[in-house]
């Protein structure tokens, strides 16, 4: 037992050192690394609910977009009138000072984490009563409706978009912006990982698994499934909101359907990454997100214009041929590594029954 813990310690400290050193080692790829952190956070928290709880949501993009708009709105609204800001579009009549910028983004991120979690809690009782594919379609509808509605609201820029405050010009270091957003996202990633890891070791995860495997039986065993489902969704929403807030600041421009409530990209990515790595495992989504990001960044530029075709084909292939993902495949191949003991006789008798 001691030995395992020591191995874990080495692994984690190694990863943290790698994460802290990454912007210096690969200083040209800071934006990509920030993306990677955000993608991992999204995949990991989607998995908590899609993989562990069995509620396959297409709608976590709702919280991502909400977080993005909230961070930017708070950041602007704290110091300047929001309506005039969005109306002026790209031309800036108001400029944030350095202190204002960081205060704004700090408060904004806090708000963007808490409000989506509250929203998830508020709509959770209604939405999480749906099961299986009804839940999937309903959340898909929510995500798209949010995008369409945000595109019609004047104060947050409507169809013409919302320019987030630019990074303070007083900081002359050109690297500062990239580093700031990278470390911010890395911090959120570590936070999310620690939290998810804690959940994996707790009773909460077992309850989520029970809900996934058979919700009626779980209820019959005396578990108040609805309570746990809502909490599970709120955790996802919390981190999705944070991730969205960071991405809004990084991209610098928010469009309702193409950046914020981007169901066609981010909304699908998070599902795909979790499935690619393996639903219902701690490391699966992390590996899936990393692989996917490398694949995307490596291939996208070579097949410019065809990337969505490739994405669609990738979805179909992964879903049909690898629904268990990488970790599921490994688990089937090396079950003893995952601490499973297979009784050959039992396995054979089950095969015959089929």
């Amino acid at each position: 037992m001691e030995k395992v813990k020591q191995k874990d310690l080495i692994l984690y400290s190694g990863l943290i050192i790698l994460g802290l050193a990454a912007p210096y080692l690969f200083s040209a790829f800071k934006v990509q690394l920030t993306y990677l952190c955000v993608l991992i956070v999204l995949a990991m928290t989607w998995n908590l609910q899609g993989g562990e709880m069995g509620y396959n949501s297409f709608g976590n993009i709702l919280f991502y977009g909400l977080g993005m708009y909230l961070t930017a709105s708070v950041q602007v609204g704290m110091f300047f009138p929001l309506a005039e800001w969005t109306e002026s579009g790209g031309e800036k009549t108001f400029v944030h000072t350095t202190a204002q910028y960081f205060q704004g983004i700090g408060v904004g991120l806090l708000v963007s984490a808490i409000i989506p979690a509250i929203v998830a809690g508020a709509i959770g009782y209604a939405i999480l009563g749906l099961r299986g594919h009804y839940f999937a379609i309903c959340t898909l509808g929510l995500g798209i409706a949010a995008g369409e509605i945000a595109g019609g609201i004047e104060i947050i820029g409507a169809g013409q978009g919302f320019t987030t405050p630019p990074f303070p010009a007083e900081i002359v270091d050109v690297e500062a912006r990239g580093k700031f957003f990278y470390f911010l996202s890395f911090f959120v990633l570590v936070l999310a990982f620690v939290f998810v890891k804690y959940i994996y070791g707790s009773r909460f995860r077992l309850i989520l698994n029970a809900i996934r495997d058979n919700e009626d039986k779980a209820e019959a065993m005396g578990i108040q499934t609805m309570k746990y489902k809502i909490v599970g969704w709120m955790v996802s929403a919390f981190f999705c909101g944070l991730a969205g807030g960071i991405m809004g600041g990084l991209i610098g421009y928010i469009d309702s359907t193409d950046v914020a409530f981007d169901g066609r990209e981010m909304g699908v990515f998070m599902v795909l990454m979790a499935i690619l790595g393996g639903k219902g495992t701690l490391w699966g989504p992390i590996i899936g997100a990393t692989l996917f990001h490398f694949f995307k960044e490596g291939l996208w530029t070579f097949i410019l214009g065809w990337q969505y075709v490739a994405l669609g084909v990738l979805i179909v292939v992964i879903v049909i041929y690898f629904p268990e993902g990488l970790m599921g495949w490994l688990r089937e191949k090396y079950p003893e590594r995952f601490g499973e003991v297979i009784d050959e006789k039992d396995r054979k008798s089950q095969v015959e029954l089929k």
Partner: protein
């Protein structure tokens, strides 16, 4: 918010007529959705993109100088084979699996279709001019494009033809038998694989007809498929599988809702209203069923 519509009764008549005529078209797409859902137990997110593809076939004919109304005959024939090929390539692997797999796989197909249509036909909003003119009613205060009346009429003709075909023909009987019990049908000598392929083909053909009609009544754009999928999904869950009159009525209801939402909330919220309606319908049904301690299956 704009409540002008309640002050002017003629606007209300206008919106109702538009809504009902449009709703019949939605019902046609929904009927295809119900067919494949009932028979193969899959939910096809690419439904709307099949519709748009069918529309582009009619639009291509229009560009080539043929009247786009002929699309209602040509488009389903082409789309039948598109659907059949799609079944052989992808859908046959998701038929017996979890519904979520079919949702995600068809979502992937939808993305591919959207992008390919974007390449081939361009990202512009297009419409095929039918040149049918408009009908004026009530002292010119209500205008109805004849193309809308034409499209509702053609939808009804095809729907009735399909119902008769399903009742009388051998394939129709096989499809209904497979929907009731695939295993029993197989034992009794129905080639279910063929039935599934034909079902998906018929669904795609229905989408093709609807698309051709949309190309002359509404507008086409590579990325507007998803709202059609959601509309048909909504109609099916309200009407139930295989209940054609209910499908027609709820289709008209949806059309009415959309037109009124368009007037009251404004055009920019139209699609948003459709998606919110989906959420509300699902949530309403969830609460209705939970009174009896049941859930949507």
């Amino acid at each position: 918010m704009d409540f002008l519509i309640f002050q002017a009764p003629m606007l209300m008549v206008q919106a109702s007529m538009d809504g009902i005529l449009l709703g019949i078209l939605f019902a046609l797409i929904a009927y295809g959705m119900a067919l494949q859902w009932g028979v193969m137990n899959i939910i096809n997110i690419a439904q709307g993109d099949l519709v748009i593809l069918g529309g582009y076939i009619a639009y291509t004919m229009y560009l080539a100088g043929i009247h786009p109304a002929w699309g209602v005959i040509v488009s389903p024939i082409i789309m039948y084979f598109v659907g059949w090929a799609l079944y052989k390539l992808v859908i046959n692997k998701v038929v017996d699996r979890d519904l979520f797999i079919s949702i995600l796989a068809t979502f992937g197909i939808a993305i591919v279709f959207q992008q390919l249509m974007n390449f081939i036909f361009g990202a512009d909003v297009v419409v095929a001019q039918s040149g049918y003119g408009t009908t004026m009613l009530f002292d010119n205060s209500v205008t109805l494009p004849n193309s809308k009346i034409f499209s509702a009429f053609i939808s009804l003709v095809y729907a009735v033809a399909l119902v008769v075909y399903m009742k009388k023909s051998r394939l129709g009987r096989a499809i209904r038998a497979t929907a009731q019990n695939a295993r029993a049908a197989k034992i009794l000598g129905v080639d279910t694989e063929k039935v599934y392929a034909a079902t998906f083909g018929i669904n795609a053909a229905l989408c093709g007809i609807a698309g051709a009609l949309i190309s002359i009544t509404l507008t086409l754009h590579p990325y507007v498929g998803l709202p059609y999928t959601v509309r048909s999904f909504m109609i099916v869950i309200v009407a139930g599988l295989g209940n054609l009159p209910a499908v027609a009525i709820s289709g008209m209801g949806l059309g009415l809702f959309e037109e009124f939402a368009d007037y009251i909330l404004g055009t920019e919220f139209r699609i948003g209203a459709v998606f919110m309606l989906l959420v509300f319908i699902l949530v309403y049904r969830r609460f209705k069923l939970s009174k009896k301690r049941e859930y949507l299956k």
